[in-house]
């Protein structure tokens, strides 16, 4: 058994490449758990960050600083009465959230957290991701129709029209990044996600900085299109509360509605992962070429431990600053335990980082590398998540026809232009 695990950890292939179903299953379970935790954390962060933007505190009661609030929400939604409109189509009503959820979660099979840390590195990785995310549109359309009510139907059709329009611009921006992968010695590009990051590694530059400002504009187009694709502010007219069309998930209550929210957050994380992989260098640490020495490698490998240490310190500060009233005793204790957990994780990561510095192929070094890859990837995706929340807090929302106008009349020409210019520049240089 230990040999089995060691032989696995020593491989440089993804489970898909190696054809190993058992490890693929383990990976899938880990990813599923990870995405669920990420969505829960995202819920908490959204409420807290939005609250802090709006000069208020957000949830503070359920658990210290509201840390258990997402669980309370999930519990409440599960206990809610499951209302199905009597005129609605029962089967389709039931299946609609599942379609969205399946589409959102299937995408994670190709997301590369590291050079061999993906469930399966398909040859057509990015194509698969784009295709499966476009299946999510079907879930929304069908959900709106199944409610058998005028307003959700209109809202669903608008949502899906918006998503389909911005998929075009997204696809063209992706293609211009793919074009950049082919600018190597052999002249062949690749569609596989791991291949794209390796191309960035090979060419020594993140694609966002390549042929500046071309890569940056392509990245910008994708960044805007992905906000529209996931129906988030400022493009959330279709699900706004103060509009007449109340959105596709009006008639859904309780757990079914939470499935839609789960799918939405999972889709947000998925498209951010695409952006990170294509333009921001995926799992690579910052400045891989500029700061190349082993000393710099070591410093950057300390980052995961230091991040958790910083989080533990913030939690400790929260514990110290809690009012010393008997009401808050349990919250204080809870937050102290949480701080302790974070500190333990920080300690563990630091130990691994230090131990992995010495030998190159030891177990600790391999763990260190793996943790580093996953950490930098997740950090970059988290930046995008924070941006999503920031956009929602700051900006008003576009009217629907303005939104569509931007998608077709602004995004599409710019992304086409960037594609053509990138190809020309790539050939010349």
């Amino acid at each position: 058994m230990p040999n089995f695990i060691m032989s696995y950890l020593g491989s440089t292939l993804t489970p898909g490449q190696a054809g190993n179903q058992f490890w693929a299953l383990i990976y899938v379970l880990i990813i599923f758990a990870g995405v669920s935790v990420a969505v829960i954390a995202m819920n908490w962060i959204e409420r807290k960050a939005l609250a802090h933007f709006q000069i208020r505190l957000g949830p503070m009661r359920v658990g210290p600083h509201g840390l258990l609030q997402p669980f309370a929400d999930a519990l409440k939604l599960m206990l809610k009465e499951d209302i199905i409109p009597s005129e609605a189509d029962q089967f389709v009503f039931w299946v609609a959230p599942l379609i969205g959820l399946l589409a959102a979660f299937t995408v994670y099979t190709v997301i590369p957290f590291g050079p061999s840390q993906a469930v399966s590195d398909m040859n057509i990785g990015i194509l698969f991701m784009l295709g499966v995310s476009s299946l999510g549109v079907l879930g929304i359309v069908v959900a709106g129709w199944a409610s058998n009510s005028h307003y959700p139907l209109i809202g669903a059709l608008r949502s899906s029209a918006q998503m389909v329009s911005y998929e075009v611009a997204m696809g063209l921006a992706v293609v211009s990044a793919i074009v950049m992968t082919s600018l190597n010695s052999t002249g062949t590009g690749t569609l596989s996600m791991i291949g794209i990051v390796q191309a960035q590694q090979q060419q020594g530059v993140w694609f966002i900085f390549k042929f500046f400002p071309l890569g940056f504009i392509a990245f910008g187009i994708f960044a805007i299109a992905m906000v529209a694709e996931t129906n988030r502010a400022p493009f959330d007219m279709a699900e706004a509360e103060s509009e007449l069309t109340a959105g596709y998930h009006t008639e859904y209550s309780g757990l079914r509605w939470s499935l839609f929210m789960l799918a939405e957050y999972a889709a947000m994380i998925a498209v951010s992962s695409i952006a990170v992989t294509l333009w921001l260098g995926g799992w690579m640490r910052p400045f891989p070429n500029l700061l190349h020495a082993p000393a710099w490698d070591f410093i950057f490998s300390l980052f995961p431990g230091l991040t958790f240490g910083a989080l533990a310190a913030i939690a400790l500060l929260g514990t110290v600053r809690m009012p010393s009233h008997s009401f808050f005793k349990i919250q204080r204790v809870g937050l102290a335990v949480f701080a302790g957990l974070l500190g333990l994780i920080a300690l563990l990561l630091l130990v691994i980082a230090v131990a992995g510095r010495s030998a190159d192929s030891s177990l600790a070094a391999r763990f260190n590398d793996g943790i580093g890859y996953v950490y930098w990837f997740v950090l970059k995706v988290s930046v995008f998540m924070y941006l999503f929340i920031w956009y929602r807090a700051t900006w008003p929302r576009y009217r629907f026809d303005q939104l569509m106008k931007i998608g077709w009349k602004v995004m599409l020409p710019i992304s086409l232009g960037v594609l053509v210019v990138t190809a020309i520049v790539g050939v010349i240089f």
Binding site: F53, Q54, A233, D236, E243, L244, A393, P396, R397, R399
Partner: protein, 383 residues
Amino acid sequence: MNDRLDPMSNLDLDAPDTYLDSNELIINMGPQHPATHGVLRVILKLDGEKVLGTECVIGYLHRGVEKIAENRTYTMFNPYVDRMDYVAAVSNGLGYCEAVEKLLNVEAPARAKYIRVILTELNRIASHQLWLGTHALDIGAMTPLFYTFRDREEILKIFEKYCGARLTTHAFRIGGCQYETYAGFEKDVKNFLTFVAPKIDEYETLLTTNRIWLERTKNVGIISAADAIALGVTGPVLRASGVKWDLRKAQPYAAYADFDFEIPIGENGDTYDRYLVRMAEMRQSLRIIEQAVNGIPEGPIMGKVPKVIKPPVGEIYHSIEAPKGELGYFIVSDGSTQPYRIRVRPPSFVNLQALDIMVRGLLVADVIAVIGTLDIVLGEVDR
């Protein structure tokens, strides 16, 4: 009124429900709606997505205030007046007290006038802040609401210290003010002035040059100056269409003649201009308050008013510039202690008529923006 301005002329509510076969539909934005600022019911006639006409159904908040007035003495009616435009209660009180004072031929002393001006202008700022927060929220920007409400708290604290209430203040009495300014009033007001000026800049930073805000508010809900005057629209809506008419300058009341301030006007009469006009008005109010608080004269705060108020037989119409427009009181006295008839001319009621003109040809999402920009309070629309 000519046919073009008549909201019922193009809205045929008795037509058969051709909902599914053609593109025209009649949609009801019901009394309960997150964006109608109270219990307002708007019936929209749409052609696909475009609005052909609207009809507002009001009366959900009608409390019979004017009828109640006939059974109360003038002093007893004073608190009722606050409840009409509950957001700008101080202005309501000012208009009523001044109207009755005119009927009695009594003038409030100078000190009382200055106190009245300070409190009214503070209330103007508070009302505009509330307007900004809710209007931005309707258009989708969630954050200015919290900023404006937090800053509004300072004004409400001053009101509470002065007269004990935050919202329905009942601050003034017929003939002057009842309460002397509390110790520290000037200091509080001056602190507030320095506190809020950068906050107004903060609101502007968030919205004024924001591309999305511009696209949602520019050329949306245009009303021309001629139409505005024909419909009787007043207040920032009128001024944004380019008409320089402000009762504080045109027919000065209280102590406004003593102060130096400007009347901001707009050009196009669209939602963006109304936004700019109200932001500028907030700043002008700060100017007025600063001048007033620096020069409050000494003296009595209550004029020579008899204990039992029995105005002579007659009628009077007196109007002031409330934050929402021209607020007028038409009081008919039959010589007794109770008015024979009080008719309130609420600015929101008259401004709401312009909704139909403003939204023709716009999309449904713009209707909500226009309702927000008219700054209506259903309490005074329905009374």
